[in-house]
Symmetry: D3
């Protein structure tokens, strides 16, 4: 039954996404939720569309360089 | 007033999306909500970003073949 | 597979919610999605937490009276 | 047209929520969006349901005391 | 950076919610995301507001009894 | 702590998005939230995926011409 939505930056490989899906599903399995009942939806959000501390993550990344 | 967000796999035609928008709006119209008050937002999520049963929908689709 | 999230004001009866769930699911069934694959999640949002046109729906409702 | 969803802890007064709604709507007005086109939906999330850094905000708040 | 939203039925204890928060955060830590960068937001959705297979989870639960 | 999700049509420049991020963050700063605690996530939704009044925004835009 749980629906889990992940919003994160792009750049993860297919293998890493599978780890996210499997890992999140396992968290609920350990609480007694059959794995067939967990849905995970990943949305990749560009750094230019992600804001933190009043700035875009894109701008923040440039500053760090 | 209702805001309805649909998350689904890509691949629907523009015509099918219009059917989703019109159909969902009609559900609320039948409950007395003027159609101008219903917003529908469709997000298409790649199968590699969709997880079910601890696996990606992409992997599950391959297994079925 | 579709996950449909509805955000609306409180006040709908259980019967009306069932109509929303059944109606939305039917929209996707007509596009070929088996009904077991559609999840509908309704979130009820108080009018004081709903803003439109720069005002809360609560304030707008009072104005209309 | 923008739909803006705010997730935050409970405890804001009705007046503060109106400031959030008005303020967010204004941000888009300054970009040319008529205020009638902006919807703001606030969801209040209990600290026990909010996690950060692997702990609940509730637990983190207790630690700070 | 990831923001993870969990929608699930009510009834989990505070301890179980902490396990969800810690577990989900750990999934991302194992991919190299410092735990301070992961936010988890849990929304509890009543069974009467949760639809599956065209019926409310509440109705489905009654049928099973 | 607030997480703010903006859904809007594509077409905004990077500069406009920065104004959205900065503006929304400021709304919360004025309520006492340190800017480091506000996350803004912008999702751009094609007009063909946006429905209003039972029609897609794409179709509505064509009508207006």
């Amino acid at each position: 039954m749980p629906v889990v939505e992940v919003k994160m930056w792009p750049g993860r490989t297919a293998e890493q996404k599978v780890k996210i899906i499997a890992g999140v599903t396992k968290v609920f399995e350990e609480l007694g939720v059959p794995k067939e009942q967990t849905t995970v939806v990943i949305t990749e959000v560009d750094k230019s569309n992600w804001g933190w501390s009043g700035e875009s993550a894109e701008a923040l990344a440039k500053k760090k360089q």
